[in-house]
Each structure stands twice: as C-alpha cells, then as structure tokens.
C-alpha cells in the first residue's frame, strides 16, 4: 500500500511538472512562435508602444526561452519580482503570475475564488450522488418499469438541457418569481445559513445535470454487476436480497462511479463556468470567464494550472480510493 502510494505521488509530481511546462508553452511560447506579440495582449487594446515595452521588460519576454520557463517555475516556488518602467511589483510564492489588467497577483485571487467553487462542486456532488445513484439503482432493479422509463427520460432531459437554460429558468421561477431565494452569494464565513440558502439553486441545477449522468451509468453498471457470478454466490449463501444489493452489488458498482466522480470533481473545481456565471457565484469559473473576456492572460494561465492541479489531485485521490475499494489494484 505504501509503495503504491509513493508511486502514485511520484507520478503526480512528474505530471505536475509536465503540466506546468505545457501550460507555459501554450500561453507564452506558442503565441511567440506564431508571431503574436504577447506583451501587447497584456496591456489591452490601446497598446501604447511604451506600455508594451514596459510589460515586455517586467515579464522578461526578451530573455531566452529557457530563462523564461525557469523564471516561471521559480516564481511558483520562491516567488518573483516584476520590474520595469520605474515600477517594481513583488509577487510572493506561490506566484502563479500577475495580472497587469487588475494589478493583482493571481494566487490570492485563486485562493479567494477557490472556496466558492469547492463549496459548489462538493455540495452538488453530494446531491447528485444521492439522487443519481439511488435513481440508477432503483431503475436497474425495476428495469422496464414505469419508474425506470420515467427516470431515464428525466435523466435524458438532465443530460441534454444546458445549465444556462435550467439555471435561468430556476432563477426566473424561484428568485424573481416566487422570491424564495435572494439569489446572491454570501460567503460561508460571513453567514453559513445565508450561504447555504444561496447555494441551494446552484447546487440543484448543477446536480440535476450530473445526477442524470450518474443515474445512467449506475443503472448500466448495476445491471452488469447483477449478472456477475459472485452475486449469484451471495444469493446461494442465503443472503437477503437487500443485503446482496447493498453489500455485494453496490460496492462493485461504486468503482466506475468513483472514477467518474474523481474526474468530474476535478474538472468542476477547475471551474463550473456556466453555473458560476449564471448564478453570479464569484468562483474560479466565473473568474476565468471574466479573464477571457478581458484578455487577462495571466489569470487564464493561473486558472488553467489550478484546474490541472485539481484534476491531478482528484485522480490521485481516486487512485488511492480505488486501492481501498478494490484490493486487486494494490498489486498492479
């Protein structure tokens, strides 16, 4: 188990370095190779030559590529200083870059937005797991029944309807129509109760989409597992059917669901862009949307990095949970 863990952690660390390099290349080197002046994209539309030169100096864009990559890496671990035009900006470690658009270091922005996204993703995940898995199990057990067909139609709707549609609809009904919720985000640390009520609609909207997907995969997996020999063995022992389902079938069904959950959570932490922008939640997704709109390259780079890290971390957790759930994994 320990060697397994160490191996996975090592793999994650290697991936991290690869990701950072790739992200750096995508955002800093590819435009350079394509002949686009990166510095001008940092200063906005009315690019005064002096302004472009200032950014070029601060970012060290005139330096050789390996120096730039090195500075970028170094910034993450020991921080870096941007100097140019008589102005010096220090960006403390971990420096994920500096936005010349809003004049802020990226890292504090990310740490400020992260809890919002985390709360959204985790809350919705709990909801969709409960809804999706139980609907999927019930459908599998009552396959062909009215319930099964109904649930699968709803699931299809859930998968097909875009978040901005369901989101706007729920806003129109519950916030602007019935006035059940205020529809404004209140940080958990300010008022947990208001945070909770403010998050209900986003949670439900997001969970609706994912619950649908999870119901479908749960149903399919469950039906497959129920055909396994060891389920027959469990029944041959004289186990009650509910125990067979709960203890034997569910545990195996959880494996693919866990894989999906890891990936989905990772991706969501990187930013539930649509949900956050629809409900105006100040999370990472909304941040990256604004960054794209404002051409705020460093923020896009920062969020991309954080997203990659989140996916990486989620995968690591899934790998470890895998080993806990499936003893066979430890050997591989």
């Amino acid at each position: 188990m320990l060697t397994y863990l160490i191996r996975r952690l090592f793999a994650a660390a290697v991936m991290l370095v690869v990701i950072i390099t790739v992200v750096f290349c995508i955002f800093f080197l590819v435009p350079k190779w394509a002949g686009v002046d990166i510095a001008s994209s940092f200063v906005g539309k009315q690019a005064d030559p002096a302004a472009v030169e200032g950014v070029r100096q601060k970012l060290g864009l005139g330096d050789p590529i390996y120096v730039q990559v090195w500075e970028f890496f170094k910034g993450i671990f020991v921080g870096r200083t941007y100097a140019g035009g008589g102005d010096t900006i220090h960006c403390a470690a971990p420096c994920f870059g500096y936005s010349f658009r809003s004049e802020q270091a990226i890292w504090p922005v990310l740490t400020d937005r992260f809890p919002v996204t985390l709360g959204l993703a985790l809350g919705a995940a709990v909801l969709w797991l409960i809804l999706g898995v139980s609907a999927g199990v019930l459908s599998a057990l009552k396959r062909g029944s009215l319930w099964d067909r109904g649930a699968m139609v709803v699931a299809l709707a859930g998968v097909s309807l875009p978040i901005y549609f369901t989101g706007m609809l729920s806003l129109a009904i519950f916030v602007f129509g019935l006035h059940w919720f205020s529809g404004t985000y209140v940080p958990f640390t300010d008022n947990p109760g208001k945070w909770f009520t403010g998050m209900i609609l986003p949670w439900v909207t997001l969970a609706f989409l994912y619950a649908a997907m999870y119901a479908r995969i749960t149903r399919a997996t469950m039906m497959e597992i129920l055909g396994e020999d060891y389920i027959r063995t469990a029944r041959a022992k004289g186990l009650r059917e509910p125990v067979v389902i709960r203890k034997h079938a569910m545990r195996s069904t959880m494996t693919p669901i866990l894989t999906m959950l890891g990936m989905d959570l990772g991706a969501l932490i990187g930013g539930a862009i649509l949900t956050e922008s629809t409900f105006n939640l100040p999370g990472l997704g909304r941040e990256v949307l604004l960054a794209i709109r404002n051409q705020d390259l460093p923020v896009i780079v920062g969020v991309t990095l954080i997203t990659s890290l989140a996916v990486l971390f989620a995968n690591l957790v899934v790998d470890i949970l895998y080993a806990v759930i499936d003893p066979r994994v430890r050997l591989t």
Partner: protein, 597 residues
C-alpha cells in the same frame, strides 16, 4: 373520439406551456404595478430623462445608490481608464480643473470650472492656458489639492510603460516629441520635470502648448487630467484604491466582483459647484451574466447599469412591454458603419465604394442592428449627432434614409459601370466574431450586395485581436478585406475627439491603425490643422461640418446607424438625465434617490 382525446391532451400541453410562460413573465416582471405613463413616485415615463432632467424635485439626500454591471472598468486609475462609463463614474472620486456641465443633453458637453475658479485664460494665440485653483479643495485626508498635484497627475500619462491603457492626448498635445520620460523616471527632486506645465505657486497652473489645439480644454476635462498626490501614488496598483479628491472615496473594491464608495467627509460642498453628492453610499455589483443583470434591474434590486451600453435583447423586450416608463432611448454617440480600405482593389476606385453604399439595403441593416429603437436611426453621415457641427439625418448625401433606404440597384449598377466593373466583383467582409449584431449586419450587407452583382464573402476574425488584424494595413491588404464592419464613438464631443484618428493621414499606422480607409486627403488634413487653431466655437463647428462632408463625399464609409440604446432607470432614482458629455449615458455624478432608506 380519438381526435377529441388528442386535442384534449394537446390543450393540456398548451395550458402547461402557457402556465410556464406566464410564470416566467410574472417572474420577469417582478416589481409588479405598472405606470407606463409616468408618475411622481414611480417611474418617470418613457424617455423622460433623455436630454432632460426627470424627477429633479423628488431627490432626497442619503441612501445607497446601487449600480450593476456586466463589465468592470479597464482600470479605476484616472490615468489608465478608457471606458466611457469609467470616465463618467470617476467623477465621484476625482476632480478635474474643468469638467462637463451637469446638465442634460447638449449642455453637458459644455465645460464648466471644477477645481479651477474659471475656464482657462487662453493667451499666446491658443498656446498658453492658465488656471487658478479654488480655495477649500481637499484630498480625502483633508490636505489641500495643489497645482503640483494636478501637474503630477497629468505627468503620470507619460508613464505608459507602467500605467498603460488610458488616453494619451495630453502627451501628444503637450509633448509631441516625447521628450519627457514620465514621473517614475524623472530625475528632478520633486518629480515635476515636465516642461510644458508651470506651477508658479500652489494655486496657479500654466500649460504651454508647443502648438495650439482648440480642443485642449476638452482634453483637460478628461479624467486622465485628474490630480494625483505623489505620496499616495501606488503606481500600477493605484486603480485598486485611488486617493479621492471628489465627494466619495473607495471603501472596498474586488475586481470583477464589487465596488463600494462611501462619502469622503473631507470634501466640502462649498468647494464644488458641480457635484451634488446626494446618496450616502454607492455600490457596484458585477455580474458575469448580462441576463441576470437585466433581471435584477427589472426586479428593482438595482438602480441602473454602470456600463450604460443598453440592455440585452431579452431584458429589453420585457422592459419595453412592461416597464416602458423606466426606459430611456438616447443616442449613444456611436456610429456603426462599414469602411472600405483603399488598398484593396477595386475599392481604390470611389465609384466601386459608392456602388456598395447605394446597393446596400439600409433598412435591413438598421433591422440587423436592432431596429429604430434598440439599434438607432439610419446613419446618413459620419458625424455623431452629439458632436458640435453635426447635422444628423438632415445631411444625407446618398439619400440613405430617404429615396435609397431600401437600396438603389440601378444607381449601384451605374456606379459599377463608372468603376469599370459593370458585372460586379468579389470581395471580403471582415467582421468581429464576438459581436453577433455585427455579424448580422455583415450578413444583411452580403445579401443586398448580391443583388447588384457584388459577391461578398464574410470573414469572422477573432474580435479580441482587432488591433493586430484589421489595425494592420498590410494584413488587411493581404487578406483582401474590402469591407470592414466597425463602430466608433467620440472620446470627447468634438470632431477631433471623434474623427482625427479615423480620417487624418497622420494616423495611418502600421499596427493599431484606426484609419482603416487609409484616407490620405490633403483637404481633410488641412481642415484638422485649421480646426486646432480655431478658438471660437462657431468656427470650430463649421470646420467639423466641412470635415464630415469631405469624408462623406469621398465615399469611404457606409454608415449603418446613429446608434441608440435602451437604458434602464429604477423607480428609486431622481434627478436623472442623459448627457452628451458621456455619449448619451446618464450623468452619474448627480444621480439621487427619492428616499434615503
């Protein structure tokens, strides 16, 4: 029997759909009770604040004025902001030597003294401007604002390598050769090394222009000429918390999320003839979803849109139906148009340009822009109606809003013949991919040109790369962009503030070019030179009219609309009016509330 049952079921479905629709409309309506006619306590009525003051008498001191917005400012640093709403909003926390009058419509475009005791004393043939500062003008810490603070604030425009983004007119007028390197590289002890400005004492400031520019005072009225105190200058981070010289100061600001201003207790009403400072507090909430912003305006959660660029199509439709009394429909100052780069054949020939102008269906272009209310009146020339010297639709050399408004095929074919292309030709329309309305106009144009034998392809380019793609004449030529769809609004309401970068040959740049048509007309250049040395308003207006005529006669542009917006004002607002100073936006600085609660 079966048909009956089916229709019964269909009825049920219809009823359900109707119920959802009803729910949505009531939801959208939110606020309830309606008053399209306008009333004293409720909404003032449609267009009640367009170029006139609505409900001025209802205003009470106090309360919280709530702005919402879909877009944060580029920067709240007075030196760095370029968005029109930022200039408008910056008057809350910054003062200038002179500023636009707080009057509706055209009045707002006239200047009035602010920090200065009067308008400039202009001497030396328009090359020297002298101002004296008022008594009692203070910073938010109570210290007096001096002429040196004004000079330092203006000097910051030279530090483009640190403070990028804002307008650079001051630099171009006061130091066209670029001799000064900006305060951060200034070697003099007081960092006040700019030679063009003298501050003989704390109350007096004198500007020495190398060449006269009759719009100089307009340029001084821009917020980029606001004072900044040297010991409070946080350089690139200044926009996160500017040090206030106005009636309000920054309490908190989180970029892209929210901004709160509270009263600056050091500001004295007696020292400020312009600002009334009615509310106690001003909040701005930023939304990532324009529809939600509109919903909150309709719902009464917010008072107005800080961006002032018009409501989104959805919110606009609901508002026009149910809350017309809360809307104003001002002219925005923007002209939306197509422009023909002369480097791309056959647009080097004016007859081919005119063939497009005549061939286009102007009504359908107007419809693509949003129709007469949300889109604007059919544009007939290239000077926005809010700019002095403009004639609006009265000047219509190609009868675009008259006889030829649906396109004149015969006339277009005549021009094609004159151009030597009797069977038409092929060309490419360049349009930003992030502006759906512009894409729609391109498609409309494409359709009507087909009728006269001009085959236009549409090329949607990355809208965020405008400067590099269509701002590069060599690229435009290479790509064969014969028609470019764009829009333009004045930085300040004069022909220079609008048209100089578009029409003067000096402004043909290799990148970041805005003279897309590559107009190189000695007559136009000459008129601009004449304009900057003409000091009387009547003379300036006359030249503005002449420049507009020259541009139109050349056939470089096909104007679509004199743009109009639908802007929302809540029931709570009092003393609301639009101003030409900020291109038809509400004048933020003197907005008040009807009740302090």
């Amino acid at each position: 029997m079966t048909t009956q049952r089916t229709s019964g079921r269909r009825k049920q479905a219809l009823a359900a759909a109707a119920a959802v629709a009803a729910l949505l409309t009531t939801a959208a309506c939110g606020g309830g009770g309606d008053d399209n006619g306008g009333s004293k306590n409720g909404a003032a009525g449609f267009d009640a604040a367009n170029n006139k003051v609505a409900q001025a008498s209802a205003v009470k001191k106090g309360g919280t004025l709530k702005f919402g917005g879909a877009q944060d400012a580029d920067s709240w640093d007075t030196t760095r902001g370029y968005y029109g709403f930022m200039w408008n909003f910056a008057r809350y926390y910054s003062r200038q030597l002179v500023t636009g009058k707080t009057e509706p419509g055209k009045g707002g475009a006239q200047l009035t003294p602010d920090l200065a005791t009067g308008l400039a004393k202009v001497t030396d043939g328009g090359k020297t401007y002298t101002y004296t500062l008022r008594d009692g003008v203070t910073w938010e810490d109570g210290k007096p604002i001096t002429s040196k603070d004004v000079k330092y604030g203006i000097e910051r425009v030279w530090a483009q390598d640190v403070l990028s983004g804002g307008p650079t007119y001051l630099k171009e007028v006061l130091d066209p050769k670029g001799e000064y390197k900006g305060p951060y590289k200034d070697t003099s002890a007081d960092k006040l090394g700019l030679k063009a400005i003298d501050t003989p004492d704390d109350k007096t400031i004198v500007f020495h222009l190398p060449q006269a520019n009759s719009d100089f005072e307009e340029i001084l009225a821009l917020v980029s000429a606001s004072p900044v105190r040297q010991d409070k200058d946080t350089k690139s981070k200044y926009g996160l918390k500017p040090f206030s010289s106005g009636p309000y100061k920054f309490e908190s600001y989180s970029p892209g999320k929210s901004l709160t201003l509270t009263r600056n207790t050091s500001w004295k009403q007696a020292s400020d003839p312009v600002r009334k400072a009615y509310p106690d507090k001003i909040t701005v909430t930023f939304f990532s979803n324009a529809n939600e912003l509109d919903q909150r305006l309709l719902n009464g959660d917010l008072d107005l849109d800080i961006n002032q660029t018009g409501m989104s199509p959805q919110g606009r439709t609901t508002a026009l139906k149910q809350h017309k009394a809360n809307l104003d429909n001002p002219v925005s100052g923007y002209i939306r148009y197509a422009v023909f780069p002369q480097s791309v054949k056959p647009f080097d020939n004016e007859h081919c340009r005119k063939a497009v102008i005549y061939g286009a269906d102007h009504v359908s272009l107007q419809t693509a822009r949003g129709g007469p209310v949300a889109g604007g009146d059919i544009g007939t020339n290239m000077l926005p109606p809010s700019v002095p010297g403009a004639e609006g639709q009265k000047y219509d050399p190609y009868e675009l809003a008259g006889a030829n408004k649906s396109g004149n095929v015969a006339k277009a074919k005549e021009e094609l013949k004159a151009c030597g292309q009797p069977n038409g030709f092929s060309t490419t329309i360049a349009v930003r991919n992030n502006k759906p309305v512009e894409v729609a106009t391109a498609q409309s144009l494409q359709a009507s040109l087909k009728k006269v034998g001009i085959n236009a392809q549409i090329d949607q380019y990355d809208g965020s790369q405008t400067a590099g793609i269509i701002g590069s004449p060599s690229n435009v030529k290479k790509k064969g962009y014969g028609i470019i769809i764009m829009g333009w609004g004045p930085d300040f309401p004069t022909v220079q503030g609008f048209g100089l970068p578009l029409w003067d040959s000096k402004y043909i740049l290799q990148s970041g070019n805005n003279n897309y048509a590559l107009i190189n007309d000695k007559a136009i250049d000459g008129l601009f030179s004449q304009y900057v040395t003409t000091l009387d308003d009547a003379g300036k207006e006359k030249i503005a009219t002449q420049i507009n005529h020259k541009v139109m006669e050349g056939g470089y542009y096909l104007p679509f609309v004199f743009e109009k917006f639908i802007n929302w004002r809540s029931d709570r607002l009092a003393n609301v009016y639009t101003t030409d100073n900020y291109s038809g936006m509400y004048d933020f600085v003197n907005l008040g509330l009807k009740s302090a609660s």
